[in-house]
């Protein structure tokens, strides 16, 4: 029997590309917060301390830009105060409305403490920041995972992958942004190698989690895996995307491995960093915009034509512009008002 659809309406994506930007930036921010926390405990002049300014810069940029994208994804952004007027403890998104500003506040405070050279206070703040970071990792993942209507989201693999790939983006942006820091604050070769090792561990974790998902899917009942297989078999666009991301992922891992002797070249770290960040971004694009194109009832796929305005291309360019502006602002501020030397390290 063959069923041919004659007349069905188109359903648009309710979550716009803003959501992709938000989950990209917030994933990066959680990684930067954890990295900053770890670096804060490094011995004076040690490898972790030399990585600290880079981690702080990534943290400042991503933590400030993320909520902007989140707000813009609301179709009624001016009503954001409704989140606080009607708190809803049984909705992850409502919890997020409380957890997110807390996290951003703590991140900004951490960056400020670093800038002021308050090393001891930074270490005092670390437990609170780590706890807040974990709350963000849990809420952003769970928010997607609880949606039963979309099998591709309704799996533990989504939050795990969002977290790991977000942290990989932190490493990537570290590689991209460190060059904009004043020379004295830039990480040396050993610190860059440390960042590369972190990237390798995260990539290994991602591969392990993907393999676990695949093996579990082949072994038994996994609606998300079954759906992925169906999309791979039926739709060339999904087939190309999945194969393309596998190839791109392998290329990024190869670049990480080859980085052992090449990190001194600034062009190499730029390409490697951009590649790492791009893989995290592309995963989110497929997860949000791609999956929203999979009909819940009908056949085929919904076409997504990206608007050129604020709801699409301009929105994404705007977010990129905001990040560039924040980097410029932060690094310029560091030139004008250099970070104070930590009292303990002096």
């Amino acid at each position: 029997m063959q069923i041919i659809e004659l007349l069905t309406p188109a359903y648009e994506a309710a979550w716009l590309p803003w959501a992709v930007q938000y989950f990209f930036l917030v994933g990066m921010a959680t990684g930067a917060a954890l990295l900053t926390s770890a670096c804060a405990f490094g011995p004076a002049r040690g490898l972790l301390q030399r990585l600290l300014p880079t981690a702080v810069l990534v943290l400042a940029v991503s933590a400030i830009a993320a909520p902007v994208a989140l707000l813009a994804d609301l179709h009624q952004p001016a009503r954001f105060w409704h989140f606080y007027a009607h708190l809803t403890p049984w909705s992850w998104m409502s919890l997020g409305a409380v957890l997110m500003p807390t996290f951003v506040g703590l991140c900004v405070l951490m960056c400020a403490l670093w800038w002021l050279g308050k090393h001891r206070l930074m270490r005092l703040l670390v437990p609170v920041l780590v706890l807040s970071t974990l709350s963000i990792v849990v809420y952003t993942g769970a928010e997607i995972m609880v949606i039963r209507s979309r099998p591709l989201w309704n799996t533990l693999w989504v939050p795990i992958n969002l977290a790991l790939s977000g942290w990989l983006a932190t490493v990537g942006m570290g590689f991209v942004l460190y060059r904009f820091l004043p020379r004295a604050l830039q990480p040396d070769a050993a610190a860059l190698q440390g960042l590369r090792h972190l990237g390798l561990w995260l990539a290994t974790g991602l591969i392990a989690s993907a393999l676990t998902w695949g093996i579990a899917g082949i072994a038994g009942q996994s609606p998300s895996f079954d759906m992925a297989v169906r999309l791979f078999q039926e739709f060339p666009v999904w087939r190309i995307s999945m194969l393309g991301s596998a190839v791109f992922g392998a290329a990024v891992v190869m670049a990480l491995l080859r980085g052992e002797h090449r990190l001194a070249a600034k062009g190499y770290t730029l390409v490697l960093g951009a590649g790492l960040a791009a893989s995290a971004w592309a995963f989110r694009w497929a997860l949000f915009m791609g999956v929203q194109g999979v009909p819940k009832f009908g056949a085929g796929l919904y076409l997504y034509s990206m608007p050129l305005g604020g709801e699409g291309l301009m929105g994404m360019l705007g977010m990129a512009g905001l990040c560039v502006a924040l980097v410029a602002l932060a690094t310029w501020a560091l030139e004008l008002f250099p970070a104070r030397k930590p009292a303990s390290a002096a």
């Binding site: 659809e5 409704h82 209507s149 085929g300």
Partner: protein, 282 residues
């Protein structure tokens, strides 16, 4: 089960399994109206605890629990509305689509109800069968769209009708994602979530929903499932074995029931897609 052509598809002889349990239809009013039940009381307690900022309750601490529903808001006393769609009587004329749009004025290209139309080719049978599948909000008993709303703008009433307060809605689209039936959309004009309301404004005035009133074949029947003598209950009882709902596996307990729904359409359609026009191009 092989698909029967419409003219032959009187399901009184059909052997298809009933996918929705009859007890969920023929309930006593006490069960349908949640307030006086033990569960309703518990939910009251949880909501009260939550409103005082006591997030210590297990339910409130575990958002996303698929069995949790916020307390229903007052609706038409003692009623539980449902709809029966007799697909054998639907001719796919889209009068319901048009009358709903005239009544509820959604933006051009967006629909609260519509009739999906399919052509079926069966092996060894040269004649092509047509299926017209009216679609609308299922006003589920366990609506997954309601608990996800971060500002409680979407809610269910004691009469089962699921509504959106579009002055409170922030347009986050979370409910649109959570609905397994693609029954919700973000209204282009209001920039808030929009959906079928069972024309509750007409029901309150003692009128039928626009789609029911305009249906030329009488395929849509709305009524009070708590009233044993209502037409909907009588027709459901007369066709007990053929009543189906969409995606029963989602455990949403839909309250739009279908007669003559082929098994191939229960959990979504696996077939050849049409060229869909994007709303902005219409």
């Amino acid at each position: 089960m092989p698909l029967q052509k419409r003219e032959l598809s009187d399901c009184s002889t059909s052997s298809s399994a009933c996918t929705c349990s009859t007890p969920s239809i023929a309930r006593t009013p006490q069960q349908a109206v949640t307030a006086p039940t033990k569960r309703g009381f518990l939910q009251d307690l949880i909501a009260m605890a939550a409103s005082f900022g006591v997030a210590g309750s297990a339910r409130a601490a575990l958002p996303g629990d698929p069995s949790f529903q916020p307390i229903r808001r007052p609706g038409m006393e003692g009623k539980r509305f449902g709809m029966l769609v007799d697909m054998r009587k639907c001719i796919g004329c889209q009068a319901c689509t048009v009358s709903c749009s005239v009544e509820n004025q959604p933006p051009i290209g967006q629909f609260r109800t519509t009739v999906l139309q399919y052509e079926i080719e069966q092996a060894g049978d040269t004649a092509t069968a047509m299926v017209s599948l009216p679609r609308l909000c299922n006003h589920c008993d366990e609506p997954p769209c309601v608990p996800v709303c971060p500002v409680q703008a979407t809610f269910q009433r004691t009469d089962g009708i699921v509504l959106v307060d579009n002055e409170r809605c922030v347009g986050c689209g979370y409910c649109v994602q959570a609905c397994p039936y693609d029954a919700r959309f973000i209204n282009h004009e209001t920039q808030t979530a929009d959906k079928c309301t069972f024309c509750e404004h007409r029901l309150e005035a003692g009128l039928l929903p626009a789609c029911v009133e305009s249906c030329v074949g009488g395929a849509r029947v709305i009524g009070d499932l708590n009233d044993a003598h209502s037409e909907i209950n009588q027709r459901i009882n007369a066709h007990k074995d053929e009543i189906k709902v969409l995606k029963p596996g989602m455990k949403t307990k839909p309250h739009v029931f279908y007669i003559g729904l082929p098994d191939e359409f229960v959990n979504g359609v696996d077939g050849q897609a049409t060229v869909r026009l994007v709303a902005e191009h219409l």
